[in-house]
Symmetry: C2
Subunit: 373 residues, 2 copies
Amino acid sequence: MRVVPVSLGERSYKILVGGGLLDRLGRECARLGPGRRCAVITDSNVGPLHGARAMESLRAAGFDPVLVTIPAGERSKRWQVVARCHDELAKARLERRSFVVALGGGVVGDLAGFVAATYLRGVAFVQVPTTLLAQVDSSVGGKVGINLKAGKNLVGAFHQPRLVLCDLDVLGTLPAREFQSGIAEVIKYGVIADAAMFRRLERGMPRLLARDAAELAWVVARSCAVKAWVVGQDETESGLRAILNFGHTVGHALEAISAYGKWLHGEAISVGQVVASQLSVATQGMPQADADRVRALLQRAGLPVETRLANAQATRLAAAMQLDKKVVGGEVRFVLARRIGEVTWGQAVPIDRVLELMLPSRADAGAGATGLE
Amino acid sequence: MRVVPVSLGERSYKILVGGGLLDRLGRECARLGPGRRCAVITDSNVGPLHGARAMESLRAAGFDPVLVTIPAGERSKRWQVVARCHDELAKARLERRSFVVALGGGVVGDLAGFVAATYLRGVAFVQVPTTLLAQVDSSVGGKVGINLKAGKNLVGAFHQPRLVLCDLDVLGTLPAREFQSGIAEVIKYGVIADAAMFRRLERGMPRLLARDAAELAWVVARSCAVKAWVVGQDETESGLRAILNFGHTVGHALEAISAYGKWLHGEAISVGQVVASQLSVATQGMPQADADRVRALLQRAGLPVETRLANAQATRLAAAMQLDKKVVGGEVRFVLARRIGEVTWGQAVPIDRVLELMLPSRADAGAGATGLE
């Protein structure tokens, strides 16, 4: 078992990475010294697979857990579902010393974390992420929340988990598309902060795609370590933490305009990373060769690297980007790369420039116009 | 104008108390250096009275405010209304540097504060309390939230305002019953921490009820100072802050079983303070004379000091108390007084003992049974 510490003063916690950890859930929770009552929030996909084992482990450690199952899918990240969970917690008489276990992917973690952040003004919570994406990204760092019609994650809180438990065995049942979606965030860590990690991913991609146990353990732990380092520097995103959003400005907007249906998160940020790399070449002096390597590695992971937008979609994409939380004074701020392993944040980019890269026809028209001048 | 500082490290802020402050709202907000966009959240009672002046003051200071009006009343403290406010904020394109002004009583402050705490994971907010109750209590200290069917304030956050602006002029239009409700919290500050304040209230009650300007300024500022001192010691209620809940365990339960309809908050905690005083005499050695003074002062303020419960109501009251956030390990914890000006918290009291004080028939039966032993 690997242990990755997250250093946040009195809110510090550990990420445990290894096989068979789900059966240790109860024992690990008991070390935190919480009250006896707790809730396991899971979804209709994960509950049937792993819910019973989680409940059993908690009961064996002396806890009195209640299971709350929400419908699977991004659409559960809304107020109605939060309210239903709150009602269930109240019904089960959870108190201030009680805790919430999030058992599932990013949707469950974000939602259950927000439920925990707001129930009785905040109770403890434990993340048991069951997708690669959640293990390497959303379960670490304390960002929790829900969506509005106007955009993703527009409502939420910073609420750090007390423990993150990444059981690698549960990744075995993950559909290939979801597994690949997680790799998009793994590649991102290489781009933003760790050129050596990026090179190892270039060599080890076949082993990773085959879900080789040793490779997986290394990838999850290394990804968590990069994220933990960034979050430890800047817990509430006043500066550096923004680098975690490389590829996300376009990615979130793509998810928003497709009503969170067509794109998996990792797929959307894969396209977003390719767009961000192109902007980086044009404005930050990123070597074209580095941008090509980013694109190639995403492609080898089976991820989409481009999308063609109709004009109406482009208009909606532009509007969605303007609602991004990173908008300051009406300008869209991008995280851009100087080279693989080094990024800069807060770069103002005109929205038209972004659209040019995603609307080949408009780019052609622009080139033609320039030629006539 | 009186200025009461609230010392909370980097979350410190000032409470301004005086006449004509509403017209200074824009100028005072400008000092905080926020973004241009903001929202004023108010309700259908307060909006028509003071909304235009607040908007005008903000516009004059260069802000671009949007007005969001919610239905007046405790029933607005629910997630549906929170969600509507979030949607309005997104529609008006509020950003991270934007801020929310809560213009109204406790319901508006609690709700708007929770909206601000959760929109984009937290934006700044400014309290402009328009009732005595909100000025002396709910606007100070950062507790924000909404109700569940299961109980009051079961969902929320700690989110400190950046500024509290208590305009005494707006209290002129307050109905007598609401004004008196606020006095219940004022009296509480005397009981829990300030015997000198309690004595002055005993002398000055007629002037206070007449809303004498000088008396009012003193009472609001002194109440805020007591609350600020307590909150400064213990921001997130890990200990001392609990003393602010003197009278509230029974008070909240009374409000809950009447579906927040019959009782104003101050009326419910007035009864709660009388019950807590009786328990204090019985278990903490509070002099009976002190308990009598508490009861007499509440009564002189025009507040109810007792209620007769039917048996079915008592059962519901007991259930509501068990859901109180102060419940630890299934035991109800009370704040009790040793004498006027000195309290102790975390006192476990059997629920039956509380009910005895509110169900004369059961108390009689108990006395009879004792006599037979």
